[in-house]
């Protein structure tokens, strides 16, 4: 399958701080790719390198068949970007900014613009200085999705949106995918990523720690099983891949490595299963597994 973005061994230093440390990421054509990581992990830095705003110190990048630094202008005609913290000019109206961004990108579709304004309930006659964070974000989202581009780079685009607007945003991303476009969605919001993304990359301290489809990643982690049996379940702890067993009478709950589920179920049926509940790990649990130690250690945040 052709790739929209492939990054290999990307290094970016800010003075003595290493923001990206041999980071790898592959985004296929026409997928919605989730990009996760805690604050300061290097998400925004990666996106800024992809935009040619920062110059990489080492590594290979192929962005839509070009080099993000050398071919910046040509590539920017084919992509749209929604920044994390949207800063706009207080004296310009939202409508003016949308037109400006669209024109500078190479033109925008007036019908699409009107449709997006309506969908996001944005008043284009208001000055940007009076917009809330969510409304500034809507300006950037409308400006991006009213353009006819191949790739969208979205840096935490829903952090200021209310739930209704989040639904409108998801609809917009789904449409874009259906039309054959590619979306990179950097986010903290697991629900958005779970709902939208085909594949995800998790970054931590400038390195890739996980990449793959959500299903693939789930295989790398544990499933929670709660089971009620006719007789007490014995010898569960002796099975490979079983963790955190708790018993309360005939109720048993435990975690199991995803590739050991089959063996464990065969074991369980010997005891007369009356009910069984299994929960696949949520993205949040995946994420917490990679960052749990960091959260508990309260590490100092680094430069993004």
């Amino acid at each position: 399958m052709p790739t929209a973005i492939s990054i290999f061994g990307l290094v970016k230093n800010f003075g003595s701080t290493r923001a990206l440390d041999a980071f790898d990421m592959t985004v296929w054509d026409n997928e919605v790719h989730g990009f996760l990581g805690p604050n300061g992990a290097g998400k925004s830095t990666t996106i800024r390198v992809l935009l040619g705003l920062l110059r990489r110190d080492a590594g290979e990048i192929d962005l839509l068949g070009g080099d993000p630094w050398r071919d910046a202008v040509a590539l920017h005609r084919r992509l749209a970007y929604v920044p994390d913290d949207v800063k706009l000019w207080p004296t310009l109206t939202g409508g003016e900014v949308i037109d400006l961004m669209g024109k500078l990108r190479g033109g925008l579709d007036p019908a699409r613009r009107a449709e997006m304004l309506d969908r996001f309930k944005l008043d284009p006659t208001k000055k940007c200085g009076t917009y809330s964070k969510g409304n500034r974000q809507k300006v950037a989202i409308v400006a991006a999705f009213a353009s006819d581009v191949e790739l969208f780079l979205l840096d935490e685009p829903t952090s200021g949106l209310d739930p209704l607007m989040v639904m409108a945003f998801r609809e917009t991303v789904t449409e874009a995918r259906r039309e054959g476009r590619t979306v990179v969605l950097s986010s903290h919001i697991f629900a958005d990523v779970e709902a939208l993304c085909d594949r995800i990359t998790i970054i931590r301290q400038g390195k890739t720690v996980q990449a793959g489809t959500l299903d693939e990643l789930r295989h790398l982690t544990r499933t929670l099983i709660e089971v009620e049996t006719e007789r007490t379940v014995d010898d569960l702890e002796k099975l490979p891949g079983v963790h955190a067993v708790e018993r309360e009478g005939l109720q048993t709950s435990f975690q199991v490595d995803s590739d050991e589920i089959d063996r464990v179920l065969r074991h369980l049926v010997q005891f007369g299963v009356k009910s069984l509940h299994s929960a696949p790990p949520s993205l949040e649990e995946l994420f917490m597994r990679h960052y749990g130690d960091e959260v508990s250690e309260q590490k100092k945040p680094e430069e993004a």
Partner: protein
Amino acid sequence: MKQAFTGTLALAWVALSRDRIQLPIWIVAITLFKVFVLAAWNGDLTDEELLSVTQFYGVHPAMRLFGLASGPTLGAYVMSRGFVLFAVLIALMSILFVVRHTRQDEDTGRAEYINSAVVGRHANLASAFMVAVGANIVLALLISLVFIFNDLPVAGSFAAGAAYAGVGIFFAGVASVTAQLAATSRGATGLALLALGVAFALPGIGNMLGQVDEEGVRIISSWPAWLSPLGWGQQMRPFAEDHWSLLGLFGFFFVAFALAGFYLETRRDIGKGFLPEKPGPAEAAPSLLNPLGLVWRLQRGAFVGWAIAVTLFSILFGAVSGDIDALLEELEEWTDIFERIGGTDVMIDAAFVTFVGIFAAVIAIYAVQVLLRMRLEESDGPAEPVMATAVSRQRWIMGYIVNSVLGAAALLLMAGLAMGISAGVALDELGTWVSDLVVAALVQLPAVLVIIGIVVAAFGLLPRRVGLIAWLVLAVAIITGPWLAGILDLPEWAENISPFSHAPAVPAEAVTATPILAMLAVAIVLVGIGILAFRRRDIDLPAG
């Protein structure tokens, strides 16, 4: 009712600590400015000279625009020269302070947070008043002391300080009302500045339309002067008549504005104003849709302000030309300085070389401001989405450079034209003066371009230092420029540092191509270095 003011003292303390740097800087800077102004004028003027300069300010209608002559004493002369300028500065301090601590808190959401605590409805505004009035009184006392240390009469010194404080406190009241009216802090500041502009214009007009006494040393103003707090401050006539009773006018209006501010505050929601924010265009005009148009749009308001100020002052400087010979006969020291700067003993030509040079230096400040906006867009973040579009770095930076160069050229042209027309009318030689002074102004452009070049190069090479470098370069160029170097008696090598020293001294001398071409070449090389460096470096954006 008493509850409405709960927490006022605590909030006043918060306001003071938030402003522990900004407010003292205003107060100290204005006081020091006064010290320098007095040092420049004190001791040098004989009684005859005082009489003649006072008459100059009394008789000449254009000069009356900026001051009210009250008598041939040093104190009265200093007040007529400096009162309006200092009153405007002090009013600005008050307006910015009050808006910062009322309306701006609402814009940032701080006010909501504060008001959720045990704080009365009027506590925030009342605390802003307390600190603003206090700051004005401190400043007034300091200014009075500066006068007293310069051996001026004590009563007049305090009257002068009181006149300044009156204006400052009046505008604290005005700002408290505009903060309720406007929908944003920007709007509140704008409305208050509009009021300040009207207050600035009225006494000027009133004094121009007024009568001057037989000796030509005391103006009796016409009625418009009495419609403005700046007018009342002038009419107090410190060091001449000391009309203390006019303080009552300031007090009355401050109380009235304060009550209006409190009343309006009870009638509106937090974060909203009485004047609805006017809707703007839903679609952008085609002229906005490129980097050049964007920068022009962002800069337009500032440019218009500069254009008005440059034109007005140019008319004024042109208009005094008719009296310059007469004035300089009285003040021999100035004759020497003008001769040195202009390189000619034809005083009128030497004077215009000086005037045009000063305008060029001031216009360079505008050019630098446009370029520093570029850095602000980068460090604050709005540049990021623009550079993520199909705009190359050259096109982006050229948007600022072209606006800076064309803006400076247009302002120089306006200065030359306005000065030429008004001098031409005064001296009855319209054609000659217009063409001479337009050329004189335009040959200053290469010197401005050198400064633009240095700032662009700094932006490319040392983006985080560009603000410091820009102001330093401006300061050095002005201090070692021909006018100050003349007054400060600097050696020739020092004078040669400033690009302004190399601009042809038209109309005293003919235009010479060598310095113009040399400065153009330097400017182009510097701009080229800046653009190349900018294309190769990281964009220095806020942490995301």
